[in-house]
Amino acid sequence: MNFSHTEERQMLADMAGRFVREQYPIDKRHEIAASDTGMSAELWSQMAELGLIGALFGEEQGGFGGSGFDIAVIFEQLGSGLVVEPFLANLMAGTALMASPEDTSAHFEAIISGEKTYAFAHGEPASRYTLAHVDTSATKDGDDWVLNGNKAVVINGDSADQIIVSARTSGAAEDVDGITLFLVPGDADGMVKRGYPTVDGYRAADIALNDVRVSDDSRIGAEGAALATVETVTAYATLAVCAEALGAIEQCINLTLDYLKTRKQFGVPIGKFQALQHRMADMMTEREQIRSAVINAAGHLENDDRDWHVSALKNLVGRAGRMIAEESIQLH
């Protein structure tokens, strides 16, 4: 049993944290979030140079990380500065590309170097959280596939150069079999994107596919067998956003602690009030619980019990993380 990171990973995390603190101050962040693309091409390529994207992928993909702990430490640091650069979208797309038996090195070069951004378009207006629910269709036409349907709330879908789209090549809406992934250029004919900001400062897009034609080479993995890949992508993404939440939670607690020490009412710092002290104590205890759940999920990301630990993390962050965030507002 060992709860210390390797020296390399610790250095990576420290470097990421320093970059976020120094290059991504909150007003800059709001500026970037409010921009049309919702990202900073300049900072994105700097972060790529620092290896923050490469750390999300293993050596087979040309990266130098890719383990659950690598993903967790990077996203925790991103969360501490509410970074809105398209890490999540590219992690999801890259994880999906790993399912391809073909040579995907060119794609990973483009992702890891930051030259191109990718996105993952799976959710649909009617799918909610049911991963097998895919109405979008892909029908064979000679050597091509023709895609029709709608994808909902695709993170960074409006600015991505390449989009991995899930579509049904057989079966009914919620069948487990019959889902296939395709790599579609962001500017493909018949793809209509409506981009918009999200409530947390990201950008996303609703994407309509009207007779979008792609060759069979753009298929990722075996025909009709993509649900397992979608589940893997979702597990990696869930770990990433929960680790991101942990970083944000640390900030909430630190900011609230500072406020309790400095804000004076009734002649004393409000942190002197026991009712607030006890709530703060519970917040700090739950923070440790969340950190432990992130460790558990990261450590089991490639095991058979991955889904239990990832779901446990999501559930705990949903409860405890929200409690901490709401209390942080209330105590301010």
Binding site: V153, E174, V199, A204
Partner: protein
């Protein structure tokens, strides 16, 4: 014991209901229903409609132009107003300043200001909080120095709701630095056109202009604008806090929120069935409805006691805490009900005249914004922590 309204109360309810059905402007009701932003014109129009019908100040005593409604009648009025998606009446002049003027204002002040509140001549805002004086309101610093027959005001107020629409502001100011902080505070009325008054908008994360800072630099205010006695302002402000029982629980809002939530839950599909049919969602919704059903009766019990002349006690604080937490839980569950479409947020879409098609369902855009925005309700108007202090002090004598 009788949980039904008396015949008189039922008649009153029917009267208000038919009035609302006939008189809430359709466009305004649509904005309220979809949580869009109201313009000043919307609010002025509604104010005028209620005033011409004599309902605006129904709770005022008759000698001041009201109908002398009791607390139960007010509760009925509030429920019917929100049920018809009527906008809440802007309370600053009508429900916050007016009672103070009636109790402590001079006859001249009453005759001058009260009618102008009713006919909409004056839009009032509240000058209480300061950057350094929130929960500890008595520590406020904004100064008012007597010079001849004027006061000279200097300082800053903040979180001034809808101050951008107001032409008058009632302020708590410091007229004496010695002694207990509470004893040096006065209650004064300020024409915002006076030179030296500056309103600076505070734009919320969501992009809404709802609150403001109001800065005062050597603002010259006639001495006759002082309400009651100098250095008695704290008493007047507390009088207001304790006597303003109605509506604090927000039962009407909560009922409307539940209705909206049910509409969404019946529209949202989960695995081919309406979300409302999902047992976990249904259980969450039921628990909120159970708490609301109890709180509605708690509220009516307290309003009944008030109508019977009982002095206000810690129940008001209980309603504030329970009411805000309950409405926040409705906002939260509504956000959950949306699923992924809780994420998109286009601030412009809340403005009048936005004509793009909605992203996702037409009810989606404002939901997450409301969840975040309404975190304020457990903080403003005396934070829930202050309310718990009041409850324990009054009930424990500690």
């Amino acid at each position: 014991m009788d949980l039904n309204y008396t015949p008189e109360e039922q008649a009153f309810q029917a009267e208000i209901r038919s009035f609302m059905q006939a008189n809430v402007p359709a466009a305004t009701a649509d904005k309220v229903k979809h949580h869009k932003r109201l313009t000043k014109q919307d609010m002025d129009e509604w104010h005028a409609i209620l005033n011409s019908a004599g309902y605006l100040a129904g709770h005022w005593p008759e000698q001041f132009g009201g109908k002398g409604w009791n607390a139960i009648q007010r509760a009925i009025f509030d429920e019917e107003l929100t049920a018809a998606h009527g906008p809440r009446v802007v309370p600053f002049g009508l429900n916050m300043l007016a009672p103070v003027l009636m109790a402590f204002g001079s006859p001249e002040q009453q005759q001058h200001y009260l009618p102008r509140i009713l006919d909409g001549t004056d839009w009032w805002c509240q000058g209480y909080s300061e950057p350094g004086a929130g929960s500890d309101l008595a520590s406020l610093k904004m100064s008012a120095e007597r010079q001849g027959d004027h006061y000279i005001l200097n300082g800053q107020k903040t979180w001034t709701t809808l101050g951008q629409h107001a032409n008058w502001i009632f302020c708590l100011v410091r007229t004496q630095k010695e002694g207990k902080p509470q004893e040096g505070i006065s209650f004064i009325l300020v024409d915002m056109d006076t030179s030296g008054v500056e309103v600076r908008p505070i734009i919320l994360l969501e992009g809404t202009h709802e609150v403001n800072e109001v800065w005062f630099t050597d603002v010259k205010v006639p001495a006759e604008n002082l309400v009651g006695e100098e250095n008695k302002g704290w008493t007047y402000a507390k009088y207001l806090l304790v006597h303003e029982r109605s509506g604090i629980a927000g039962v009407g809002d909560a009922l409307a929120g539940i209705e909206h939530l049910k509409h969404i839950a019946n529209d949202q599909q989960k695995d081919g069935k309406p979300l409302a049919a999902d047992p976990f969602f249904a259980a969450r919704l039921s628990e909120i409805e159970i708490d609301l059903s109890a709180m509605r009766t708690t509220n009516l019990r307290i309003m009944q006691a008030a109508a019977d002349g009982a002095p206000a006690g810690p129940e008001v604080s209980m309603l504030k805490v329970k009411g805000t937490v309950l409405r926040q839980s409705i906002n939260d569950l509504t956000r959950r009900a949306l699923g992924p479409y809780a994420m998109p947020f286009v601030s412009e879409a809340l403005e009048q005249g936005y004509n793009e098609p909605p992203i996702g369902p037409d009810y989606a855009n404002s939901i997450a914004k409301d969840y975040f925005n309404h975190r304020k309700t457990s903080i403003y108007g005396g934070s829930n922590e202050i309310q718990r202090n009041i409850i324990s002090k009054m009930m424990m004598g500690l």
